[in-house]
């Protein structure tokens, strides 16, 4: 049964994989840019979850002239908003990274910690 659900719900497998990969990168990588990439992957996993959950087989756009079944437009709209929020967060993060690199000349968190401890 587990195997069957894995095969038929492979989108969710992808979601879990993306969340895991993203989180692993955030925790494990000492490179700040890679951390931001990890954040992005993590967010993408969540976007995929929303879009998958909203999928209706043979569904039409919710316009009256179309025939039922309809697709709920809400998750798509939410994800558009979430993508905008995500992009601006990445922009802020990258701006901070540029500043950190300019000040310390490194992107490695461990090196950064040592440099700051010596300050």
């Amino acid at each position: 049964m587990i195997l069957e659900s894995l095969l038929t719900q492979y989108n969710y497998v992808a979601v879990v994989a993306l969340l895991g990969i993203g989180l692993y990168m955030i925790v494990e990588s000492t490179n700040l840019v890679k951390k931001v990439i990890g954040l992005n992957v993590f967010q993408t996993g969540i976007f995929l979850l929303f879009i998958t959950a909203a999928y209706v087989e043979g569904g039409a756009a919710p316009v009256l002239t179309n025939e039922a079944p309809y697709v709920s437009p809400l998750p798509h709209v939410l994800i558009l908003t979430a993508i905008v929020v995500g992009v601006s967060l990445v922009a802020v993060a990258l701006a901070l990274i540029v500043r950190i690199y300019g000040a310390y000349g490194t992107l490695d968190e461990d090196v950064l910690r040592e440099v700051r401890a010596n300050e």
């Binding site: 587990i2 969340l19 999928y55 087989e57 079944p69 709920s72 967060l89 993060a93 500043r99 950190i100």
Partner: protein, 581 residues
């Protein structure tokens, strides 16, 4: 006149735009910013009047864009929202006024004021919204401003602190989004009132309630992160130290409370409706104890609160600078706010629960005012002496008696000395903890009371240490050469007077807090307020299309796939109709 609900939001938006546009006219920009905060406070006062104080007072809603409740975004101003807004407006007003005086002119000119109002905008939206996803968006607005505040001084140290603040918060926001998505797929709505209605009668809407517990835990983790509760407290000290001190007053006083507010609003008003009798954890067959996600919240939040009180208190005792000490102190103090919330979640009766939530709200108000005053006083001290290190301060009491008196009022309120507001805050929290112990006299039930006692003792220790180190004793060279700005001192003295007034005239404050607690717990009133006529569709005369707009079609739920077997593609929600094949 329901338009008043949206007034604080509009004022904040206008203030953001105006201060941004006036970047080339610094003096005018500062004046506009202060005026914006004053108008904001006035609009909040008007809203509070309309919602709580007026003879014909009652909660109000605003359906943005004219879309009826479950479809559009609803703004709800009930007593709880009004209470939190009053708190935000008070701290915000003083924060911006002190910032104008204390911060370097050049620093202010860049983007301090637009950011400040942006943060206020996010906080206001979070307090007013009645839509779960909208809450997420307001959180992001607020956080985006706070990231920039932490990196504000632009030094390498501040930037690194901001990055460390940003990463956990982005993950937290993503987890919150995950929780919201799951809740939408499970319950089929994002409107909080509609969600409460559906959870109260899950069978009628074909909802499986069990996943709500886990999904609400995702949301809880994010709120705890924003509130800085243990184990999510690690970002607090470095962020507060890096931010400009007037902005730190806002961060500690107001934005932390947004997390607490969200816990109260979602768990008590929305999730408490979900009956879980006989539900089992998906796939395991293990029964879920308790009757709703609220029962699950109780012990978890209690553990967080007790740990926060301990970590914050112990951390604050050993600090060398005043701002760092205050940052650790706010971890502990938020624990004091979360403690009665946790006890309310496991309270046996409605009256006890209401008293506990009211205690949390009173403590939140007291902490916002006292910690705001302390951070702002520290800003003045740093502006005058150039340092906040306890070893370099000393004899401030002699140098500026009024500033010291204001700091003393804030400190004593934090310790809980009558007749200041803090006394009642602490008194009510202790009362709730003691009553909890009295109902079930076991060792475990004594933990909250013991934690509160230890926390109170630690507060006395670190406050005494600050007072002796900074204000008594002989004047250090830094203090001796300091010139204290009389305008700042006047502002601080006025805020100290507010704290004193809130303690002396405590009765109206308590009644406001009780009304707010009642609003948080009265689920039926909240639902009726937002959406009095269930089942309305956007196109009442349409051909069943309304259902399609109300809910996600055939949202396959991964968390149930294992339990029921895959391939159940039918959206088993009869009430929705017209979807799922």
């Amino acid at each position: 006149m329901n338009q008043i609900v949206i007034a604080p939001l509009l004022v904040a938006v206008v203030a953001v735009v105006a201060t941004l546009a006036l970047g080339r006219r610094p003096a005018l920009q500062r004046a506009t910013s202060v005026a914006g905060a004053i108008v904001y406070a006035a609009s909040v006062a008007l809203l509070a009047w309309r919602v709580v104080l007026a003879p014909d007072a009652g909660p109000a809603t605003y359906q943005s864009g004219g879309w009826p409740a479950p479809f559009g975004i609803t703004l709800v101003a009930d007593a709880l929202s009004a209470f939190m807004l009053v708190l935000a407006a008070t701290v915000g007003l003083w924060s911006v006024a002190v910032a104008v005086r204390v911060l370097d002119r050049e620093n202010q000119r860049v983007f301090y004021h637009p950011l400040f109002h942006c943060m206020l905008l996010g906080v206001t939206g979070a307090f007013l919204t009645g839509d779960l996803f909208n809450l997420f968006v307001w959180f992001e607005v607020m956080l985006m401003a706070s990231y920039v505040f932490v990196a504000f001084y632009g030094g390498a140290k501040h930037t690194a602190g901001a990055f460390r603040y940003l990463v956990p918060n982005v993950v937290g926001s993503a987890v919150m989004l995950l929780g919201i998505g799951g809740l939408y797929a499970t319950v089929g709505t994002l409107n909080m009132a509609d969600m409460a209605r559906r959870l109260a009668d899950p069978a009628a809407y074909g909802i499986d309630v069990a996943p709500v517990v886990g999904l609400s835990a995702f949301v809880l983790a994010t709120f705890a992160l924003k509130a800085g509760l243990v184990p999510f407290q690690f970002w607090v000290p470095s962020a507060y130290r890096a931010a400009p001190l007037p902005a730190a007053a806002m961060l500690a006083g107001v934005t932390k409370k947004v997390g607490i507010y969200a816990v109260i609003r979602l768990y008590f008003t929305v999730f408490a409706a979900a009956g879980l009798d006989g539900a089992t954890l998906p796939g395991t067959g293990v029964g879920i104890t308790g009757d709703s996600p609220l029962a699950f919240l109780g012990p978890v939040l209690l553990a967080m609160a007790v740990a926060s009180i301990a970590v914050g208190g112990v951390g604050a005792v050993g600090r060398e600078t005043v701002d760092e000490l205050l940052a650790y102190s706010s971890i502990g103090q938020v624990g004091f706010i979360a403690l009665p919330v946790a006890l309310a979640a496991s309270a046996p009766s409605g009256a006890v629960r209401r008293a506990a939530v009211a205690a949390a709200l009173v403590y939140a108000l007291h902490h916002a005012l006292a910690k705001g005053l302390l951070f702002l006083s520290t800003a003045t001290v740093r502006g005058a002496t150039g340092t906040t290190r306890l070893s370099e301060l000393g004899g401030l009491g002699q140098r500026s008696p009024v500033l010291s008196a204001a700091f003393l009022v804030g400190s004593l309120s934090l310790v809980g000395i009558p007749p200041l507001a803090g006394f009642f805050g602490k008194f009510l929290v202790f009362e709730v903890a003691a009553r909890h112990f009295a109902t079930v006299p076991t060792a475990a039930a004594a933990v909250p009371l013991a934690a509160a006692l230890v926390g109170a003792v630690l507060t006395i220790v670190y406050i005494t240490r600050t007072w002796i180190g900074g204000f008594w004793g002989t004047q250090t060279p830094q203090v001796g050469q300091a010139t204290v700005d009389p305008v700042q001192v006047g502002l601080l003295a006025a805020l100290a007077a507010v704290i004193l007034a809130a303690g002396v005239a405590f009765d109206p404050v308590y009644r406001f807090a009780t009304a707010a607690a009642e609003a948080a717990l009265d689920r039926g009133a909240y639902v009726d307020l937002v959406d009095p006529a269930p089942g309305t569709t956007l196109l009442a005369a349409g051909t069943g299309a309304g259902g399609a707009l109300g809910s996600s079609g055939g949202a396959a739920r991964p968390d149930r796939a294992g339990e029921r077997g895959a391939g159940t593609e039918n959206g088993n929600r009869p009430a929705d109709g017209g979807e799922g094949t």
